[in-house]
C-alpha cells in the first residue's frame, strides 16, 4: 500500500464470508447492489478467474442499458481475495500479464490488514480494486 498512490477503503462487514463472496461472484446477486437505485445494473460477464472478464452495464429505466464497467480479474482466491482492474478491458488476452500481476499482488498480500477490503485507485496506469475477505 502506497499512501501516495493508493486510495484505501476499509469496511468490516458482519456476515459469513461465503455470503459476501457470493454477493460478488453471482451475477444475479451483484446486480442487486452494484449500482445505486433507481439505476439498474446488468452483469454481462462475471468470470471469476484470473484474466476473466468483468463487464457490467447500467440503465436508468431498466430498458436501455449503456456501458458501465469493462474490467478484468487479476486475482481470484476463493472466498478470500478478489482483484480486478479496468486498466485492461475484457478483450485483454495477456495471460502472462495476468500471472505477473497476480504474483505481484499476491506478494503484497501480507501488507493488507485482515478483514480489510482494499479498494485501490492504484497507480494511474493500473487502476485496480483489491477485495480481501476474512
Amino acid at each position: 500500500v502506497n499512501p501516495d498512490l493508493d486510495l484505501t477503503l476499509q469496511r468490516v462487514i458482519r456476515a459469513p464470508r461465503a455470503v459476501v463472496w457470493r454477493a460478488w461472484t453471482d451475477p444475479s446477486q451483484l446486480e442487486q447492489w452494484w449500482v445505486p437505485a433507481p439505476a439498474v445494473a446488468r452483469v454481462d460477464r462475471l468470470e471469476a478467474q484470473p484474466g476473466g472478464a468483468f463487464v457490467t452495464r447500467i440503465s436508468d429505466d431498466g430498458v436501455e442499458f449503456g456501458p458501465h464497467m469493462d474490467a478484468a480479474f487479476l486475482v481470484v482466491d476463493d472466498r478470500e481475495r478478489l482483484v480486478f482492474t479496468n486498466a485492461v478491458d475484457s478483450r485483454w488476452t495477456g495471460a502472462s500479464g495476468v500471472r505477473t500481476a497476480a504474483a505481484r499482488h499476491a506478494a503484497s498480500r501480507d501488507e493488507l490488514p485482515r478483514g480489510a477490503r482494499r479498494l485501490s485507485a492504484g497507480e494511474p496506469a493500473l487502476p485496480t480494486v483489491v477485495l480481501t475477505v476474512s
Partner: protein, 112 residues
Amino acid sequence: VAQYSAQLDGVFVALADPTRRAVIRRLGQAPTSVGELAREFPMTLPSFLKHVRTLEANGLIRTTKSGRVRTCVLDRQRLALVEDWLTEQRRVWAERTDRLEQFVTDRTEGEQ
C-alpha cells in the same frame, strides 16, 4: 464529460513524473521564473523546458512573459481535479460497499 475526462488524463500525465511533481510543489510556494526553476533542477535546459511545456500543455501551470523573463504560475484549479476525482471515487466505493453491506446483512438475517 469528454472534456473533463481529457483534462483529467492530462493532469495525470503531467503528474506522472518526479521532476514535474517537484516543479508543481515548488510553484505551490510562489510563481517562479523558468530560469530560476531550471537552476534548481539538475538536468539540461532543453530537458527541463520539455517538462515545463508538458505542464503547461496539460493546464497545470500557466506561463507569462515579461521582457526576457518567463514566469510560471501554478493553476490550482486544474490540480484540484485530482482531488475531486479521488473524492468522487471514494464516495462511489463507500456507497457501493454500503449497499453490499446492506445486501449481505439482509441475506444473512433472512437465513436465520
